[in-house]
């Protein structure tokens, strides 16, 4: 009786059932149980149970189970989908179907290839952008110091005044590591085999720093050690740079060799580090020891004791402790610095791995929104291509209803038909993927002007491979699942008896919804592109209040005295004409802006405010053709006495009329200036910003740049430019002459707009194209399905025109619905986008009607070809077809 209470272990039983599935079923389980109960008579229940476990486990991977599963999989209603014979058959059928319906295949492959290429390129670009400086150890605790001057609102710099880093190193012990460096822009030379080899300036790859730098940035030392940087007149080279200088020799043999900078600073190589392989914005090739500054002419250049200068080339990094909060550290640092200087500096810590997105003046959020926008575009393009596939294959599947009927009658399960259709999509997606992989490199090449530099495509990199596989399966499911479910649901009886059972004309169908969606997206892009186009036109052609046509500008060394600039300008005036040249600080419009606080003094009292400052000699206003609307221009004088302001300045101190300000006084930097004239407002920043108050005067200390206006195109004045360069070289033998057009800089300011415009234009073209080929295929199908109807209509007297009309009307209705949906969407989007601009075009109805018209006409043109062909068919032939 007692044994009745014992049962075989339930867990073992459950594992066995899970493992063997439905094949092993009852007989093996029954045998196991029977053995168990027999064993109970002979041994303890524990041993019997133990034996049951052993017997059950012995069946894992057993031939019996394997063989039974194999046999079961041959059964038509089997769950086992991984059957290689059937998969081979599916692929064969897929290829045959594709070969039979060439037009549909081409449409689908073309659309999917475009969509996939867009996705791949966007993926590569974003992946590249996010790859910068991700490899540093403890990168989330390493920060760059950004300095703002509280006394001068708006003065911020991703740099630190030179004394900041040494002060913090000595007075602040709470960090894990700290580093400071100065960029050193210099040409270099080495003596090799008795010859002097000269090298041009490298762009920001030479820094002057000390051993601390290597506590933050990790390098592998191939020769020497970081201790080299604790001695003056030493330099550490990267492996690649050492190779450029001395050829491929052993790193240890490079030690002790001499590199001379700017022909006058000979430094001894004290170490070689391995180059970083990963992407970084902080690639350095030469590290010059800090002590070198004190021991050479660099002392004058770098002004290590000057608290008042902020130049981009001096930067500091800090690595904080795990427990610390970056904002608290920032205020601690500001407190320490506050004790040393009168300047009111505050700091912000910027995370190393995010610095790539915080470059210079560009805003991180802008870049991110561009990423989102571009990813959304790529996904939309892919979606539209997938819709083509869904539409065409559901439409076409009616032609295959008999095949499906027969398959079902012979014993195919629904799963197998779904799998068959999915594998057809898969084959198509695979072909498209391979094509787009082949297209990626040419496309990257073609788009190189719009993409970040240094993007490479490696098809077998792990991230790329993972992305490709996800894309392939994602697209197969996205495009293939609905058609597969739709088709496999056909009832064999109705399929086999009548051909039109599933044709379904009229009413609400998914196919129509999808076409409406496609056209809505296309239409949206058309309208948006039209609006952006007008805004770009407006930005380019609107009167900015000054003229920079054919104006070339170049800078001179900030450190050298202004009298040298004067000498240079006087020489240039000899051959370009007096009023064509001006000495200046900044151009009227550009990235760089100088802002200062002022006090306006009148008999009513003192008004304080901020103004942007343009420094220039007395020819500045006339050279840039800025219009004076009151008073007169300031006169050339040895000391600063007069200034001209703009209309916004007049308004900012509450005066109504420009004439009222003439003769009043303003104090800037402790200097009293009399206002002698007012100019009309001119743009100083991007069109997003309102025109701010501005003061133009002859601030001699700021005038380190020269601007020259040419008569006629700059490119036609090569000879004059060569002369200018020669004059430049005479005055500044060690400097590089690098002129640029102001117009180019202004174009750059709207670089993001320009890029968005280009991208939206491409997106528009691609979406329209894919939608059109989709509609083309659908129209072709409709015409084919209605061949008999058309034949009968013609026989009964319908005109060709009438039939074309009849076939087109369906698509016109669909496009009409899209117009109704897309117009408010596009209006709303553009309305909020334009709101970011202080200076913008007004949205008008014609952008949207033009967009609608373009969409309608393209759709009609696409469809009409098919309709025309169908309507012109021979009715006799039409009636003979089944």
């Amino acid at each position: 009786m007692k044994k009745e209470q014992h049962h075989p272990p339930q867990l073992a039983k459950r594992i066995f059932r899970w493992y063997s599935g439905h094949v092993a079923g009852e007989d093996l389980e029954g045998d196991l149980d029977e053995h168990f109960y027999l064993n109970l008579q002979a041994m303890s229940p524990r041993r019997a149970r133990w034996r049951y476990w052993r017997q059950m486990l012995s069946l894992f991977g057993s031939y019996v189970i394997r063989r039974r599963k194999e046999n079961a999989s041959l059964h038509p209603h089997s769950d086992n989908l991984i059957n290689f014979n059937m998969i081979r058959n599916y692929l064969l059928i897929a290829l045959r179907v594709m070969a039979r319906n060439r037009v549909y295949t081409v449409i689908n492959v073309l659309g999917l290839t475009l969509g996939l290429s867009a996705c791949i390129i966007v993926f590569i670009v974003i992946n590249h952008e996010f790859s910068f400086d991700r490899f540093h150890a403890d990168r989330d605790r390493i920060f760059r110091l950004k300095t703002s001057d509280e006394a001068h609102p708006g003065w911020t710099c991703t740099c630190t005044p030179p004394p900041v880093y040494p002060t913090l190193r000595d007075d602040y012990a709470g960090s894990e590591a700290m580093a400071g460096y100065h960029h050193f822009d210099a040409k270099s030379s080495v003596i090799e085999g008795g010859h002097v080899k000269q090298f041009d300036r490298s762009n920001g790859n030479i820094i002057i720093t000390n051993t601390d730098y290597f506590n933050i940035f990790q390098y592998q030392w191939l020769a020497g050690s970081k201790e080299a940087l604790s001695k003056p007149m030493q330099v550490v080279l990267s492996e690649s740079r050492a190779r450029t200088y001395f050829g491929s020799i052993e790193p240890s043999l490079v030690l002790g060799k001499v590199v001379t900078y700017n022909d006058s600073l000979p430094l001894t190589v004290g170490g070689i580090v391995k180059d970083w392989k990963e992407n970084s914005d902080f690639v350095r090739t030469e590290f010059i020891s800090f002590g070198t500054i004190e021991h050479s002419f660099l002392r004058k250049t770098f002004e290590l004791d000057n608290w008042g200068i902020m130049v981009h080339s001096s930067q500091s990094f800090i690595k904080i402790k795990k427990s610390d909060n970056k904002d608290q550290i920032a205020s601690k640092l500001a407190a320490i610095i506050g004790k040393k200087t009168k300047e009111k500096y505050v700091f912000r810590l910027e995370e190393l791995s995010r610095l790539h997105f915080l470059q210079e003046d560009e805003n991180e959020s802008t870049i991110m929104s561009v990423f989102y926008l571009v990813s959304a575009l790529a996904i939309f393009i892919l979606l539209i291509a997938a819709i083509n596939f869904i539409n065409l294959s559901t439409a076409q599947s009616i032609n295959r209803s008999r095949e499906i009927g027969i398959r079902k009658v012979i014993g195919s399960g629904r799963r197998q038909i779904i799998l068959q259709f999915l594998s057809e999509t898969f084959v198509l997606a695979l072909i498209a993927l391979l094509l787009s992989m082949a297209l990626v490199r040419p496309l990257l090449f073609a788009l190189q002007n719009y993409l970040p530099k240094g993007i490479a495509f490696n098809p077998i990199a792990t991230d790329n491979l993972v992305f490709f596989v996800c894309l392939l399966f994602g697209v197969s499911i996205l495009a293939g699942l609905y058609p597969a479910l739709f088709t496999s649901a056909y009832q064999p009886a109705s399929n086999l008896s009548s051909r039109n059972a599933a044709a379904g004309r009229g009413g609400f169908s998914l196919r129509r919804v999808l076409v409406v969606f496609q056209f809505t997206v296309s239409l949206f892009f058309i309208s948006v592109t039209l609006v952006i186009n007008s805004q770009m036109d407006y930005i380019k052609t609107k009167d900015r209040g000054f003229n920079t046509e054919n104006v070339l500008t170049f800078r001179t060394n900030f450190a050298s005295p202004v009298s040298k600039v004067k000498t240079l300008v006087d020489r240039i005036r000899l051959f370009v004409g007096d009023d064509h040249v001006t000495m200046q600080g900044f151009s009227p419009m550009g990235f760089a802006m100088l802002t200062n606080s002022f006090e306006f003094i009148s008999n009513k009292g003192t008004i304080k405010g901020n103004t942007s400052i343009k420094a220039g000699d007395e020819r500045y206003i006339s050279m840039y053709q800025i219009r004076l609307i009151a008073g007169r221009n300031y006169q050339s004088a040895d000391s600063l006495k007069e200034a001209v302001v703009n209309e916004a300045f007049v308004k900012s101190i509450g005066l109504d009329h420009p004439d009222q300000i003439i003769g009043e006084h303003v104090i800037i930097n402790g200097k009293r200036l009399s206002i002698c004239g007012v100019v009309r407002d001119f743009h100083q920043q991007s069109f997003r910003n309102a025109i701010s108050p501005c003061l133009i005067a002859d601030f001699k200390q700021e005038e380190h740049a020269v601007a020259i206006r040419f008569d006629g195109m700059v490119s036609d004045n090569t000879l004059t430019i060569l002369k200018i360069e020669a004059a430049f070289k005479e005055v500044y033998p060690d400097e590089t002459f690098s002129p640029h057009l102001i117009e180019e800089e202004i174009q750059w300011m709207h670089g993001i707009e320009e890029r968005i415009f280009q991208v939206s234009r491409v997106a528009m073209a691609v979406t329209i194209f894919i939608s059109c080929i989709g509609v083309f295929g659908l129209a072709m199908f409709t015409a084919m399905r209605r061949t008999r109807e058309i034949g009968i209509r013609k026989v009964l007297g319908a005109s060709v025109w009438r039939i074309v009309q009849m076939l087109n009307i369906e698509f016109v209705v669909l496009v009409g619905i899209s117009i109704i949906i897309a117009t408010p969407l596009a209006w709303f989007t553009m309305h909020s986008a334009l709101n970011k601009y202080t200076y913008r075009i007004e949205l008008s109805w014609w952008y949207f009607t033009t967009g609608a018209l373009i969409a309608l006409l393209t759709a009609l043109a696409t469809v009409s070809y098919q309709s025309w062909k169908a309507a012109n068919g021979d009715p006799v032939k039409a009636l003979r077809t089944e």
Partner: protein, 114 residues
């Protein structure tokens, strides 16, 4: 083909003979018990079933599910029975052995026993 079908191992042969001898009552448990009783060797659960499956693949035995009974919680048994090919195979094996034994000189037998 036929030679392959005939090539069966010693254990397979024993299982085949036992299956035949249990006529009508041969299923996993009885076969295992009989094997233990007659030969004294115990075989693992998986070994017995794998052998039965192989014999079935070779066409020497066939199996069918028995009717549902109140035994074993209603789980049916899979009964095995020898096929015509199976019985011919064991018969041939027996004849082959006897022929070989007859030709074996008595002397050799003696030596081998010694």
């Amino acid at each position: 083909m036929s030679s392959k079908r005939n090539s069966i191992g010693e254990f397979e042969e024993i299982i085949l003979i036992i299956t035949a001898s249990l006529a009508g009552e041969a299923y996993g448990v009885t076969i295992t018990r009989e094997l233990e009783k007659k030969t004294g060797r115990s075989a693992g659960f998986n070994t017995v079933h794998t052998t039965l499956q192989r014999l079935e693949d070779k066409g020497l035995i066939r199996s069918e599910m028995g009717g549902a009974t109140t035994e074993r919680g209603g789980r049916r048994k899979r009964y095995f029975a020898i096929t015509a090919l199976g019985s011919r195979t064991i018969r041939e094996l027996k004849e082959l052995r006897e022929r070989l034994w007859k030709e074996l000189p008595a002397k050799v037998l003696g030596i081998s026993r010694g």
